[in-house]
């Protein structure tokens, strides 16, 4: 049996997978995954360009860039256009893309780590923990020695949000995981409890806050890409970029941990190191994102889920694809947010929640009963 069957198995798969049906038969989705990543990379460039080129004002990015390239006289283009394109749209587009990438990839990592497609940084309270860290810094930061604040500068907020997210993630993992198995129900319920607790403490801080602090805090609850500056990009960007660069190295470990922590160890994975690296990366990416944009929900759950339907759950492809797709999706949502009620704009968190919450319900309904939820 074994030899002939082995031969049949080999020939059924064929030497090079070309047609989609052959790929289905072989269970090899590598080609589809690579194609998807290429396509998403192109989409990413297009959406970044579109974000810089369009907006409520008629400032023309093309004119600005042409003037730069041809070295035209500064007076040839209006100062207003330059400011709009360079100081408003560009940091907004870049940060928007990074935040979308951070949230989507963090979702994919959390889902892999918890072995559950419903784990999401927003849903399980990590975003709330980050927001609490940020609010703590806004309200109580004034009490810190001026020298400390001066040293931290623009990094104070992302740092506080990072620490808040990190603590929340560690607490959540400790509560929801017992003996290497993570309970879904415990995780989601613990997430609700942690979010409520963080919300309550945030409430106390709001009560203590003065008017200026109150205005700063209100900003987190909305979730918006408005008011992005190069300073914010410089503060949050490096943290997010670092997380985006580190996380792909966890792919193989996350694939192995799909079969459980014990099985991952059997296959040669340093499980504890994998878990802590993943948790720190997620807390960093989410914390930095929340610090500059507030709570933008559902990107982390929608993006990896859609991608798994197309390219499968292999994290070697899922993680980069999630980052690209998340960035593209958030820029798309942002363009929508800027144009539907122009010249005013909707907070982007409203748009992602409007689209994401029904999607979440759809996943729940579709999988109801199948995984014992």
């Amino acid at each position: 049996m074994s030899l002939s069957d082995a031969m049949r198995g080999r020939f059924a798969r064929g030497p090079a997978v070309t047609s989609p049906s052959a790929a289905r038969a072989s269970g090899d989705r590598t080609q589809a995954a690579r194609l998807a990543i290429l396509l998403l990379a192109v989409l990413a460039v297009v959406s970044l360009a579109l974000s810089v080129a369009t907006g409520a004002s008629d400032a023309s990015a093309v004119n600005v860039i042409r003037a730069l390239v041809t070295g035209a006289d500064e007076t040839a283009l209006s100062l207003r256009d330059r400011i709009i394109v360079f100081d408003i749209r560009m940091p907004r587009a870049l940060l928007g893309f990074l935040i979308g990438a951070a949230l989507a990839m963090s979702g994919a990592v959390m889902q892999g780590l918890f072995r559950n497609p419903l784990a999401d940084p927003g849903l399980v309270g990590i975003s709330s923990g980050s927001a609490l860290g940020a609010v703590l810094m806004i309200v109580l930061g004034a009490g810190l020695p001026p020298a400390v604040m001066a040293t931290l500068g623009a990094f104070a907020l992302p740092l506080a949000a990072f620490v808040g997210g990190l603590i929340t993630t560690l607490v959540l993992y400790r509560i929801a995981t017992r003996g290497g198995q993570t309970s879904v129900a415990t995780m989601l319920l613990a997430g609700i409890a942690i979010a409520a607790l963080a919300g309550a403490v945030t409430g106390i801080l709001i009560y203590m806050a003065d008017d200026k602090q109150l205005r700063d805090i209100t900003f987190w609850n909305l979730g918006s890409l408005a008011g992005m500056t190069w300073t914010k990009l410089l503060a949050a960007g490096p943290v997010i970029l670092l997380a985006l660069l580190v996380v792909p190295f966890l792919s193989r470990g996350l694939n192995a941990i799909t079969l459980g922590e014990a099985a991952a160890f059997h296959m040669g994975v340093k499980v504890q190191r994998l878990k802590y690296t993943a948790v720190v990366a997620v807390a960093g990416a989410v914390g930095a994102s929340v610090a500059v944009s507030g709570g933008i929900g559902f990107v982390g759950i929608v993006v990896p889920h859609l991608l798994r339907l197309v390219i499968g759950p292999d994290h070697r492809y899922l993680l980069p694809a999630s980052a690209l797709f998340g960035g593209v999706l958030l820029l798309g949502a942002d363009m929508l947010a800027r144009t539907v009620v122009a010249p005013a704009e909707l907070p982007i968190g409203i748009i992602t929640a409007l689209a994401g919450a029904p999607f979440f319900l759809w996943v729940l309904l579709r999988d109801r009963g199948r995984n014992g939820w």
């Binding site: 049996m1 074994s2 030899l3 069957d5 082995a6 049949r8 198995g9 080999r10 059924a12 798969r13 790929a23 289905r24 038969a25 072989s26 269970g27 090899d28 989705r29 889902q111 072995r115 559950n116 497609p117 193989r252 470990g253 694939n255 192995a256 799909t258 079969l259 459980g260 014990a262 099985a263 991952a264 160890f265 059997h266 296959m267 040669g268 994975v269 340093k270 499980v271 798994r308 499968g312 759950p313 292999d314 995984n371």
Partner: protein, 262 residues
């Protein structure tokens, strides 16, 4: 050889395994049997280096606790009891997990090994199926193919590799039980070793070289099946009065795997 000396395992303050000493030789199938809760699986997990324990555990003379996970992963592979997964991996992707973690010495042979491992567990042609849509027995065989591909060569760099199987045939029909036990025997014939937690005493008697009988976290008896499977051993270990090699009174039919012709 896997060798344990005075192995003791405590889980949440309760001692599950009390001073167990055993040897699993290369080229031999060692079966651990015993009633539920006798510490079989816990012993196996400790041997795999997965649980903290006291006493000595060595694989081919290397202290298991001093080896890095990837060093262990090329010397032994572990088949857990039922495994569920949350994501829609295909069968091929699951088997390849065994080949993608740790230093992979067969980069150019991955596709061939995947196909051969699936054929070995009688799942040729299943590569493109989704794991979640398979039956329990098929899933168990996919896992076995993954475990097998992780240490595909029974002997690596002159050192034997070990398959550690926790109830490898519990979910399988009788034909596939035989297929898997024969597969384990072939691995032994190739110079590797197999340690299996077993519930089926007939299959154990047919395929095991060495039988370890556990009760209450201790080894009660150990030796070749022909020597240790006695009426007294059944009663002492399993608390059930049974007679070895005795044909029951006529009336109720029985079938033994011994009679299978393959």
């Amino acid at each position: 050889m896997i060798r344990a000396r005075n192995l003791t395992v405590s889980l949440s303050g309760k001692t599950i395994v009390h001073g167990v000493s055993l040897e699993a030789k290369a080229g031999a199938l060692t079966a651990i049997v015993g009633p539920n809760g006798s510490g079989k699986t816990t012993t196996m997990k400790a041997l795999a280096g997965e649980l903290s324990s006291t006493g000595e555990i060595a694989i081919n003379g290397h202290d298991v606790r001093r080896l890095e996970p990837w060093q262990l992963a090329v010397k032994r592979a572990v088949l857990p009891q039922a495994a569920t997964i949350a994501f829609p991996f295909t069968v091929r992707e699951i088997v390849r997990l065994g080949l993608s973690v740790g230093p992979n010495r067969h980069a150019e042979r991955i596709d061939a090994i995947t196909a051969e491992a699936l054929a070995a567990v009688d799942l040729a042609g299943f590569a493109g199926r989704l794991y979640q849509e398979l039956s329990g027995g098929e899933q168990q065989r996919v896992q076995l193919a993954r475990v097998l591909s992780q240490i595909w060569e029974p002997v690596l760099d002159g050192e034997p590799c070990f398959l550690m199987l926790d109830e490898p045939v519990s979910a399988l029909d009788i034909r596939h039980q035989l297929t898997i036990m024969q597969l384990a025997r072939r691995y032994c014939a190739g110079g590797g070793g197999v340690v299996a937690v077993m519930h089926d005493l007939n299959l154990t008697a047919m395929f095991a070289d060495h039988m370890v009988m556990m009760r209450g976290g201790r080894i009660e008896l150990a030796g070749p099946p022909a020597e240790v499977m006695t009426d007294d051993a059944m009663e002492t270990v399993f608390g059930c009065r049974m007679r070895i090699n005795t044909v029951p009174a006529p009336g109720i039919p029985f079938v033994l795997p011994h009679t299978a012709s393959t």
